[in-house]
């Protein structure tokens, strides 16, 4: 604390320099495989009497093949009846234990997560039920129809949301015929066509040990974590890892799509296919994008759109890495009358950044910001398990967190300029607008 006794004005800016290296323990990831081949990643967290477990399958919507919605339907049905137990019984079982069960599907991942107190008389029965619903789901007819109805509701909700309408059109446009072109919810037609056989086949193919990882953070030791992982994985058949996904094609031309919607704002989506998780350019693009549109109110986009012109409340850009190229997206919403101006400012800001690159000073401050923020990445069990699942699922090096700041520090101005020129092509951007006025 002493170093900070005298703080005035611009001296504050220096503090980042003084403190860019911290001495504290970055969690060391323990890694092994269960008896049937599930990869396990574990970090002990003894302070709170609780345990988080995530089971992640390579069974996201990219595996839907020609049946959009199938991955989501399968994942949602797991807790709707399994191993002879009804949906009501399963819900009561977890609630009686004070345990929280959750499931989510993204383009790459299908995840089932459990949060429980660490007392074994509460944890153990929760784990046993988790194992059952991963391996022995009933996929009953009534449940299947009900979840289909629920997916219809979500799809209809999305039809009244300009943000969701835009996102869908954007993914369709940048990913074309690739499985990433559809979202986990599928479409009204595709979901209606899904059958119990589809779900059973999908589950049998992808919810298998070779296609799964288990991540654990909580108040238990290695031995208990090993036992936990074996319990959760025990009933999964060995199976096979999912095949490689096809590569994402680059775009051939620029494309503008407008969708009429009776909203007061126009939602704007600009982008292209971006990077894979583990891409050698990732840290360069991440650091560059921090300056362009990834640092809240201080980013170039926020400064031009919001701070200087008051055109939008929210404006940002990101590279969201996936198995085979996730999206690069710049997004904002502005009232319909301002759409043309906002589009022009975003494009100019992007062009300026790609052509000139950031200044030396901006890069320095970006690095200070990103590296200075590092402790926030691992401040809670939730944060840590998020990283574990990402590292495990994408086979990133186990020292990913340990080398994070070094990777950011290694980025240079030239690397940013070079990478943005190679990876973002201004002449081939997709622009989607959803609103009441065609710009």
């Amino acid at each position: 604390m002493k170093a900070f006794t005298h703080f005035f004005g611009s001296c504050l800016l220096l503090s980042g320099l003084l403190l860019s290296h911290f001495a504290f323990a970055i969690p060391t990831i323990q890694h092994w495989q269960t008896d049937n081949g599930v990869r396990v990643y574990f970090v002990p967290a003894p302070d709170l009497p609780m345990v988080d477990v995530e089971v992640v399958f390579d069974a996201g919507s990219a595996r839907d093949a020609n049946k959009p919605g199938l991955a989501q339907l399968t994942n949602s049905l797991l807790s709707e009846g399994a191993g002879g137990h009804s949906a009501d019984y399963i819900a009561e079982h977890f609630d009686n234990l004070g345990a929280e069960l959750d499931n989510t599907v993204s383009s790459d991942m299908a995840t089932v997560s459990l949060r429980s107190l660490s007392e074994s008389q509460l944890l153990q029965p929760a784990l046993e039920m988790l194992a059952l619903l991963l391996a022995k789901p009933a996929f009953g007819k009534t449940s299947l129809e009900r979840i289909q109805q629920q997916m219809f509701t979500i799809l209809k909700y999305q039809q009244q949301s300009p943000d969701d309408i835009g996102k869908k059109a954007f993914y369709r446009a940048i990913f074309g015929t690739h499985p990433y072109a559809t979202l986990p919810e599928g479409t009204l037609e595709s979901v209606a066509a899904l059958t119990r056989d589809d779900v059973k086949a999908f589950h049998a193919r992808y919810y298998v040990a070779q296609n799964a990882i288990i991540t654990i953070v909580g108040a238990l030791d290695k031995k208990a974590a090993e036992k936990l992982a074996n319990t959760v994985a025990s009933q999964l058949s060995v199976g096979k890892v999912a095949p490689l996904l096809p590569p994402v094609a680059q775009l051939n031309e620029a494309k503008s799509i407008h969708i009429a919607h009776p909203s007061k704002q126009t939602h704007i989506f600009i982008g292209q296919p971006g990077v894979i998780r583990g891409d050698p350019d990732y840290f360069t693009l991440y650091t560059g994008n921090y300056i362009l549109g990834g640092s809240g109110l201080v980013s170039n986009l926020a400064k031009e759109i919001r701070e200087k012109r008051g055109l939008a409340y929210s404006v940002y850009s990101y590279f969201s890495p996936r198995r085979v190229a996730g999206p690069f997206l710049a997004n904002l919403e502005t009232r319909n009358e301002n759409t043309t101006q906002a589009l022009q400012v975003v494009r100019e800001t992007m062009r300026d950044f790609i052509e000139k690159g950031p200044s030396e000073d901006k890069l320095k401050k970006a690095k200070q910001g990103i590296t200075g923020r590092f402790p926030l990445r691992i401040k809670s069990n939730s944060n840590i398990i998020g990283y574990l699942s990402m590292i495990g699922f994408y086979n990133l090096p186990l020292d990913y967190l340990h080398t994070f700041n070094d990777n950011v520090e290694a980025v240079t101005l030239e690397m940013i300029k070079d990478a943005f020129k190679r990876r973002l092509n201004l002449d081939k951007l997709v622009t989607v607008t959803v609103g009441d006025k065609n710009p």
């Binding site: 604390m1 900070f4 006794t5 703080f7 005035f8 004005g9 504050l12 503090s15 980042g16 403190l19 967290a45 609780m50 807790s79 009501d88 819900a91 009561e92 977890f94 609630d95 009686n96 234990l97 004070g98 929280e100 429980s116 107190l117 509460l122 009900r146 109805q149 219809f152 509701t153 909700y157 031309e253 620029a254 494309k255 503008s256 799509i257 407008h258 009429a260 009776p262 909203s263 007061k264 704002q265 809240g296 201080v298 701070e307 012109r309 008051g310 055109l311 409340y313 009232r335 200070q368 910001g369 200075g372 590092f374 402790p375 926030l376 401040k379 809670s380 069990n381 939730s382 065609n438």
Partner: protein, 461 residues
Amino acid sequence: MFYKHLQKLSIIGLLCYTSTSLIAGEVHEFTLDNGLKLIVKEDHRAPVVVSQVWYKIGSSYEQEGKTGLSHILEHMMFKGTKKHPPGEFSRIMAVNGASENAFTGYDYTAYFQTLEKSRLPISFELEADRMRHLVLTEKEFAKEKQVVAEERRMRTEDKPISFMYEHFRATAFQTSPYQNPIVGWMSDIENYTLADLQVWYQRWYAPNNSVVVVIGDVEPQAVLALAKQHFGPLEPSKITPPHLRPEVEQFGTKRITVKLPAKLPYFVMGYKVPTLTTIAKENRWEVYALEVLAYILDGGESARLSKNLVRGQQIATSIGVSYRLFSRLEVLFTVSGIPGNKHTVSKLEKAIQEQIKQVQTTLVDEVELERVKTQLRASKVYELDSHFYQGMQIGQLETIGLDWQLKDSYLDNIKTITAEQVLAVARKYLIDKNLTVAVLEPQSLEKNPSTKQQSVTGEAH
């Protein structure tokens, strides 16, 4: 920069299991000579600190014609002081790796940063500076009005369900300031002046109207010294809260239909109920019993509404109960949902009414009561994983005029609630006289259904 209704958080409730206070680290409370209250809670799991500055000012303090003034002032708090020009606050925070933002509620406005722990002085220096030395200019104000208008369009006007809720609240409350949206009505956003803002800032932003909450890997005495250094020199103000205008008595059900371009119908019903602040001390059990009732109906997948209406009868595809017992004024106990694709809104309403009749006529099962208590005990541990939420609990209680220590006695209070008491509050409060119902009736999203919806053009630029 954003406002939150925090309904999800408050449904979880601000409860505390006795043994968790041992796990959670001690709470230390200090008051500086100028009236600023400092509350420090140790959490040594990671080298981070959350710093939150809470002000006892929110949308429920506002006068007609000036709704949303607290919220836009929250935005303007990032627009510079004598020492720091507009934008510098966020630039300094960014270069120091802070995660920062602010939010306005009905009863409070709060500013927060999460930082690597040795950087707490940066937060204190800048927060102390803007507590008393904000510079408000026409130029920044004009732009920020546009930003707030965009925020309102994005969060409310272009979201049919949110828009409907705004009308629902405005109908349910006749005189209570909870009738107004936190972000403000659009015409108010367009019309308030820099002088309005100046007055509002002068009136409420003072050390004796604020609570600083610090959670993290810190040493309480060192935080106190730091607070004295930065906040200590600030002059207090004379704070005069406005005359509290209570909600008038309601004499029967109010119903509205909101017709908006949408795809889905939506249903919400709300009963006016007391909160921990409005109820007499000797009747506090009623509020805890209402909280238990909310959980019996909607505390997880096995709770009654999910079990009976979503899975059983399949009348609803989603359903939720909300009760914010930590509020300054009387609130609504709401049940809301989306009917199943094969069902109408009125069928859903009837089904909900049957569930309510059930809790008014038959004692809830001991197993259900026990389940609620187990869930709450667990959620008390789970919430300790979030530094931010721990601070949130303390700040919320303090700004609505309750003692933060209430959260420690809270689970004990919940534990005493019996099936008879749940039945009693269901009978006393969930009655037609106190009820407001709103229905979202979807209208076509297409202006002219025959025109083509989508146009694609190749383009070079």
